[in-house]
Each structure stands twice: as structure tokens, then as C-alpha cells.
């Protein structure tokens, strides 16, 4: 296991370095710069600003300087928000986005897992069709539609829940979490149904039933463990995806998370912020993929054996 972990971590370094390099040069190719605005900038002002951000140096030495700073964990100062470092901005947005992602994932796993299991117990009956049809709607319904719909019903019409904000008014975290979680719940429902169907047709389930175990024990004790494996494999990348992809939900509900910074940075040509968030999120994705591999191994003895003998999954 240790060797597996070490080799995966080593593999991550060139991946992240490539991400940094490609992003660094790609944002510089884009037309326009961080200091362009609708009002013409006096050349002297522009020169002074560029000097403060090292933009007056040759591109390659800027790149090397950036790598140097990065090695010390410094993402540099933001262009758009003078007086704030990118570290600080990520630090402010990440806990919010992570919390939102976590709730969304919890909702997705609970509802999706439950729906999938329920559907798998009686395949091709209404008990299967109804949750699966709902799941299909969930997959097809984009968050930018679901969010405003939920707001309209629960926020404006019923006045049950706040329509925006995060942690300002009790209950304002519910709608965004559901909105973000819905699509993932739908995926998880389909994954867990497929996984459960496969497991429930296995010999050992038949044995369990033959022993006279009650059905719920068969499902919960013997079925779930194998049936939810595909879901576990999906959770790691899903969480990273939630972090990077929560932009739409954050915008609809005015949530001060990382996703908004991430997208705004590109529009603003906030070079350091684009780089910082991209590098940070890609590192997270690499780590979460690794984490879900480890988790899968702990649930699946065959994989565990493979890792222990040095084989690759």
C-alpha cells in the first residue's frame, strides 16, 4: 500500500507541473491584460502597475519566478483585488465551497443511494421505474434551472427558505446544497442500482437467502458492501468536481465560494488568481482520485491484494 501511494504521489508531480506550465502560458496568450479597462489607462500608470507585478520582465523569467514562489507555497498577489493575496482569497472561498460540496455530496449519497437500492430490489416494476425516471430528470435538469425553480417554490411562493446567502440566515444553506446535490444524486442512484443488481444476482446472496436471513439483512449486510463500490469510486472525483464546478450554484445563491473567484478571475485576466485556483483545484482532483482508490481498496479485498503485491489497479 505504501509503495502504491508513493508511486501515485510521484506521478502527480509532472501532471501538476504540466498544468502550471500550460495555464501560465495560455493565459498570457489571451488578448487583453489585467489592467485594461474601458477608460484608457495612462501609459505611465500602466508601466508602474506592470512593474509592481513583475510583468515588465521577460515572460520566461516571470515563469521561473512564479515557480519559485509556488515552491514556497505563495500563489502571489491578486491583480483584481489589490492588497489581497491569492492564498488569502482561496483561503476565504475554500471552506465555503467545501462545506457546500460536502452537504451536496451527503444529500446526493443519501438520496441517490437510497433510490438506487430501492429500485434494484424490484427491477422492472414501478418501484424501479419511478426512482429511475426521477434520476433521469435529475441528470437532465441543469443546476441553472433547478436552482431558480427551487427558489421560486420554496423561497418566494412558500416563503419557507431564504433565497440567497450562506450562513447569514438560518436555512440559507439548504437550497444551494440540494441544487448542487441533485444531479449527483441522480448519478449515484443509477450507479448504485446497477451495482446492487449485479451483486444481488451473485451466489453468496443466494446462499444468504438460503440460510433464511431476513431480506433487509441480506440487502444491508451482504448486498450494500459490494453494490455500493461503484459509488465509492465515483465519490472522490465527484467531490473534486463539486469544488471546481459549484460556480453556477454559487452565482445563483450569491455564495462567497471559490467557484465564483475561479470564473471571475478568467474574465478579469487576474493571472495569479487563474493560476492559483487552477493549480489548487487540479492538485485537489489528483488527491481525491487517489483517496477514492484507497477507499475502494479498503472495501474490496481483491484490489487490496493487488496493491499489496505491487500491482496497479
Amino acid at each position: 500500500m505504501g509503495r502504491f501511494l508513493a508511486s501515485r504521489l510521484l506521478q502527480a508531480i509532472p501532471v501538476i507541473l504540466a498544468v502550471i506550465t500550460v495555464t501560465f502560458f495560455l493565459v498570457r496568450v489571451a488578448p487583453g491584460g489585467p489592467f485594461d479597462s474601458e477608460k484608457a489607462v495612462i501609459p505611465e500608470v500602466k508601466a508602474a502597475l506592470e512593474a509592481q507585478y513583475r510583468l515588465d520582465q521577460p515572460l520566461f523569467s516571470q515563469y521561473l519566478a512564479y515557480l519559485g514562489d509556488l515552491a514556497q507555497g505563495d500563489f502571489g498577489p491578486s491583480f483584481k483585488y489589490p492588497g489581497r493575496s491569492v492564498n488569502e482569497l482561496i483561503g476565504a472561498g475554500l471552506p465555503v465551497t467545501a462545506e457546500l460540496g460536502l452537504y451536496a455530496l451527503l444529500i446526493a449519497t443519501l438520496i441517490g443511494g437510497l433510490a438506487g437500492v430501492i429500485a434494484s430490489l424490484r427491477p422492472n416494476t414501478p418501484q424501479d421505474y419511478v426512482p429511475m425516471a426521477l434520476a433521469m430528470i435529475g441528470i437532465c435538469m441543469p443546476t441553472f434551472l433547478l436552482g431558480p425553480l427551487l427558489v421560486l417554490v420554496f423561497g418566494i411562493e412558500l416563503e419557507w427558505l431564504p433565497v440567497s446567502g450562506w450562513g447569514d440566515i438560518p436555512g440559507d444553506k439548504i437550497l444551494p446544497s440540494i441544487t448542487l446535490g441533485a444531479a449527483y444524486a441522480a448519478y449515484i442512484a443509477r450507479l448504485s442500482r446497477a451495482g446492487m443488481l449485479e451483486v444481488l444476482s451473485q451466489d453468496y446472496i443466494r446462499t444468504a437467502r438460503a440460510k433464511g436471513l431476513p431480506e433487509w439483512q441480506v440487502v444491508v449486510k451482504h448486498g450494500l458492501r459490494g453494490g455500493l463500490l461503484p459509488v465509492v469510486a465515483f465519490l472522490g472525483p465527484a467531490f473534486a468536481g463539486l469544488l471546481a464546478g459549484s460556480f453556477v450554484v454559487e452565482t445563483i445563491f450569491q455564495i462567497p465560494g471559490l467557484g465564483r473567484f475561479y470564473v471571475q478571475a478568467a474574465f478579469n485576466r487576474d493571472y495569479t488568481m487563474i493560476l492559483g485556483t487552477t493549480v489548487f483545484l487540479s492538485t485537489l482532483i489528483v488527491l481525491f482520485n487517489l483517496l477514492s482508490d484507497v477507499l475502494a481498496a479498503s472495501l474490496n479485498p481483491r484490489l487490496r491484494h493487488q496493491y499489496q503485491t505491487g500491482g496497479m489497479p
Binding site: A30, E44, V45, Q52, G83, L114, I252
Partner: protein, 552 residues
């Protein structure tokens, strides 16, 4: 049994969650609570870049900075005329080139230090220092030698036209009479900052210091910073050290970064905001139809127009430019596409800027437009080489471009293509004049025709049309400043603008309006041409249920 036991269990969980949802309901809204304790919940458009008045630019920043700081003079929100701020009075010299400001001896920084004339000398040195990189440094260029100091031609700030003979007197010397200079004292780029605080946190020209953080900032306005949660809210409370604190009735103001118009409008409906920065276009008819509507729309000191690249054929011919402008049916455009939320314009300067009314040199006239186009060599559009309109990606810009494209096709039988560009790409195209026709907006920084007309000086940085006319330059640069009074000065501007509109390097389309939803409890916040917010005047009247009722 149709449902198994496990599915019943699942049903229980879902039920419990639903109950959990409904448990979080009810409670007092922001607006109700705010009305009770005089806390104003204000939709501010977006997260500010920062709070350093010599570093940041932008409308949301303007609202925040003018609450935290106060200039020598401030705009009265009802008349827009300057009234005492840090300076209790001022007087002009005979030749109107020297202004003496008398600082209010009661003016204090939020830590209790007195505000002095020296604070201004030092702060203006900072605002003009080339290393500060102040985008609005030109606001102080009317001062003698300010531009020279800024561009590095002189190093000694003592040569710049601002002196402090004693702590309560500030003497300003101008290059030439500048009637709007007093107005500029309410622009944040001319505000004083607290020297000891800045010097404590780094080099005075440094953009990256932490002096504006809640725990560090010292300011001199009606409010002080209490809380700054990034992308969430900025809370200010009343500044007890403010010289005019007795006049201030609000206890707190909470500014929200309401970037998403749709969410902002929903927040207003749900009682989370007293005031919205804007409103989605498609909601305007709904609110306009309401009785006692919270919707407030007023002309705004901003022009929306199309730039024409006068150096590229066929737009290098003034007749073509006039033909294009005459065949835009502005009334139809505004009534349909813009939901009556704008005012048609036939000149660049918005009408009514301190009594100035621009000339109207043309009207919607298809026949005349066709004649001009034929005269220029394109009868009924024959031989037309084709042009392209560029605009930055935004639904409203697209709709306008599509409508104008069709109007030109119908009226003149000419082919026009439209192309949207991402914001920075569009800025680059405009700055390098890589376009035929380009969308443009200009918002005035001060109420004076000069703010719009000096755009089209031959070497104006924001000209972007290639238009150059020495006679026009002379009118704006020499004749107008020399005019003995406002009336004569406006006559010069009128003549210049008439000339500009004959040459037509731009096609004026409409004058902006400010559009807000304002809760009836909000008092002392009149609509004005600059959409200028002066929080000193604002208070909340919980008893007021409709905008037609008087405030108490």
C-alpha cells in the same frame, strides 16, 4: 407488500429531511429588523477591488469609499451642487485660478486625530506619485505641475499647486480656471488618507499593504468599517468621531456584492435588501405596472453609443456616418428592446448636465440617409463593402446590435454583420482600433459637458475613432476654459458638440437610466443624474408603506 421494509425506512429519512426544511422557516427579514434598528441593507453590485481610494476604481467602490471617507466638498444628493465636507468653506481668487479651502476644525479621523491641510498635501502627493499607479491620477491634473510630477518631469512635490500655509488652510493653484474642480473633491481619488496608518503598514505607494483591513483602517467619513467578509458582505457602523455625526441617522449599512441581477431582485422580494443596484430588463414591465411600485428609474449621466472607425472605408466618409446615424430608429429601439428603460439620444452629452442642453443636429430620417449614402457612392446600398459591429458579450448589447443591423438593412439596403467578443478581447479591439463599428458606453465622473466632449480631442486616450479636428481641440482646450462664465462656456461646448455631431465619429444611441428597487421605508435617497448616494442623508422609516407617502 409493494414497498419493502428498507424502502419504508428510506421514506422515513426523506420525511425527516422535509420536516427539517420546514423547521427553518419564518423569522424576521433583514428589512424588518433593519427598519427597527436603522440598518440599511444595500445591494452594491459586486465585491469591491479594495478600499484604498488611490488604488481602486469602480462604482461599488465609489459607494463604499464615500461612506467611509469624506472629501473637502460633497455633493448634495438633491441638487448635486457641492456643499461643505471636510472644508467648511472655500473661496476663489479674482482670476479663478486659486482656491482657498478652510478646513473644518471639528473634522476628525475615526481614531480622533484632527484632519489637517497637511493630510491633503501628503495624500495628493501619494495620489499623483507615479509608483502608486493610480488610474484616476488625472483627476488632479488641473493643479499646476501635477501632470509634470506624475510623469516624472519634476521630482519635487513642492512645485505642485497645493500648499498648506497652516493646518486649517489649503491653497490650491490651478493651471487654468476649472469650474468643475470643486465637484472633483467628492471623487474618491482626491480623498485624504491617514498618513500614520499607511506608513505603519508599508511603503506609501505600495498596493499590497493591509492598511484598509477592518483592524487597521482609519477613515474620516460618516461611517467606519466594522466587518468585511469577502464576497459576502461589508458592514459599516456610524462614526461617532465624524464632525457631523448628529446629522447621520443610520446606525449601520450592510453592503452586499449582488453580482447576479436575478438573485438580487429575488433578494429584494424576499425582504433581504432595502435597495437593489439594478434590475433584470425583463422584470421592468412587471414593476412598472405595479401600483406604488418600488421601481425607480431616472436619467443617468452616461451615454451609450457606437464608435465608428473613421480611418477605414466606407466609414471614412462623414456622409456614410451620418446616413448610418440617421437611419437608427431610437424610439422604437428603446420602446421594444430596452423596455422603455432608456432615453433616446442625438448627441454624446446627456441633456441637463447643470443646465447644458446639447444640440440636435439630425433626426430619424430615412430619406435623407438614403440620399447621403447615394451621394457617398452607394445608391441603394450598391457597391457597399460590408461592415461589422462588435460588442462585448452581453444579452442587451446583442439585442441592440441585432435591431440596428436590421434597421440599416431595411433603411439603406446594406449588409452589416455583428460579432460578440469577450470583455478583454473587445477592449483590446477598441484600443487598437481593430473594428468598423464598436459598442461603447461612457459614464461621467463629474457633472460637466467637458467630461464627455474631451473624449474626442485629437490625441484623447479614449477617442478610439481616429477623429481629429484642430478647431474642435481649440474649442475644448482653450476657448471653453477661458470663457468668463458658465453661460459663455456652455456656448463654446454647444458649438463644439455641433461640430462633432456633423462629423459623426460616433453614433449616439441612448442615455442611460439608473434603475433601482427601493423599499418604501428608505428615506432621504433621492434619484439624481449621477446616481449619487450620500448616506449622510438616508434613514429608514418603518411606518412608511408606500413611496407616495411622506417620510417622517
Amino acid at each position: 407488500m409493494f414497498f419493502s421494509r428498507s424502502s419504508l425506512y428510506g421514506l422515513g429519512v426523506v420525511l425527516a429531511m422535509t420536516l427539517g426544511l420546514s423547521a427553518c422557516t419564518g423569522g424576521e427579514s433583514n428589512v424588518e429588523r433593519g427598519n427597527r434598528d436603522q440598518t440599511f441593507h444595500y445591494g452594491n453590485g459586486s465585491e469591491p477591488q479594495g478600499l484604498d481610494p488611490h488604488v481602486v476604481t469602480g462604482v461599488p467602490e465609489n459607494h463604499l469609499l464615500r461612506a467611509l471617507f469624506e472629501g473637502l466638498a460633497v455633493k448634495n444628493p438633491y441638487t448635486l451642487e457641492p456643499e461643505p465636507g471636510v472644508a467648511q468653506s472655500w473661496e476663489f481668487s479674482e482670476d479663478r485660478r486659486q482656491i482657498t479651502f478652510h478646513i473644518n476644525p471639528e473634522a476628525r479621523w475615526s481614531n480622533g486625530d484632527p484632519v489637517t491641510a497637511d493630510d491633503y498635501v501628503w495624500s495628493w502627493m501619494r495620489a499623483l506619485h507615479p509608483d502608486t499607479g493610480n488610474l484616476y491620477s488625472y483627476m488632479l491634473f488641473p493643479l499646476v505641475n501635477a501632470e509634470e510630477f506624475f510623469t516624472g518631469k519634476i521630482d519635487d512635490f513642492a512645485e505642485v499647486g497645493v500648499k498648506a500655509p497652516n493646518p486649517l488652510t489649503l491653497v490650491v493653484t490651478l493651471k487654468e480656471p476649472t469650474p468643475y474642480f470643486i465637484q472633483l473633491m467628492d471623487h474618491y481619488s482626491t480623498f485624504a488618507v491617514h498618513r500614520p496608518t499607511l506608513e505603519k503598514h508599508g511603503k506609501f505607494t505600495d498596493r499590497f499593504t493591509k492598511w484598509t483591513r477592518v483592524e487597521n483602517i482609519v477613515s474620516n467619513g460618516p461611517f467606519v468599517l466594522e466587518e468585511w467578509l469577502l464576497n459576502r458582505r461589508i458592514t459599516m457602523k456610524k462614526n461617532e468621531n465624524y464632525w457631523n455625526a448628529d446629522f447621520v441617522r443610520l446606525n449601520r449599512v450592510v453592503f452586499y456584492p449582488t453580482e447576479n441581477l436575478v438573485s438580487e431582485e429575488r433578494g429584494f422580494r424576499a425582504g433581504q435588501l432595502h435597495y437593489t443596484q439594478s434590475i433584470p430588463l425583463d422584470k421592468i414591465p412587471v414593476y412598472q405596472a405595479m401600483e406604488d411600485s418600488p421601481y425607480v428609474q431616472e436619467p443617468y449621466l452616461g451615454s451609450y453609443f457606437y464608435l465608428l472607425n473613421t480611418q477605414r472605408p466606407p466609414l471614412d466618409d462623414a456622409r456614410v456616418r451620418r446616413a448610418l446615424s440617421m437611419s437608427v430608429d431610437r424610439d422604437t429601439l428603446i420602446n421594444t428592446v430596452l423596455q422603455k428603460s432608456a432615453v433616446p439620444s442625438y448627441s454624446i452629452t446627456p441633456p441637463g448636465t447643470l443646465g447644458y442642453h446639447p444640440p440636435k443636429t439630425f433626426s430619424y430620417d430615412i430619406e435623407e440617409a438614403r440620399r447621403l449614402l447615394a451621394e457617398a457612392g452607394y445608391p441603394n446600398g450598391e457597391g457597399w463593402p460590408g461592415i461589422e459591429i462588435i460588442y462585448n458579450t452581453l444579452e442587451a448589447h446583442r439585442k441592440i446590435a441585432v435591431a440596428i443591423q436590421q434597421m440599416w438593412k431595411d433603411a439603406l439596403n446594406i449588409e452589416v454583420t455583428i460579432a460578440n467578443q469577450e470583455w478583454k478581447v473587445y477592449l483590446d479591439a477598441v484600443a487598437t482600433m481593430n473594428f468598423d463599428v464598436g459598442r461603447r458606453g461612457w459614464i461621467g465622473d463629474y457633472v460637466d459637458p467637458n467630461n464627455f466632449l474631451d473624449l474626442y480631442l485629437s490625441d484623447g486616450g479614449n477617442n478610439n475613432t481616429g477623429y481629429a479636428n484642430p478647431v474642435y481641440d481649440d474649442l475644448i482646450l482653450n476657448k471653453a476654459p477661458q470663457a468668463p462664465n458658465r453661460e459663455e462656456r456652455f456656448k463654446v461646448f454647444y458649438e463644439a458638440e455641433r461640430m462633432l455631431m456633423e462629423e459623426m465619429p460616433i453614433i449616439p444611441i441612448y442615455i442611460y437610466t439608473s434603475k433601482h428597487l427601493i423599499h418604501p421605508s428608505v428615506c432621504g435617497l433621492p434619484a439624481n443624474l449621477m446616481d449619487s448616494l450620500n448616506l449622510r442623508y438616508v434613514w429608514l422609516d418603518p411606518e412608511r408603506r408606500s413611496p407616495s407617502e411622506p417620510c417622517t
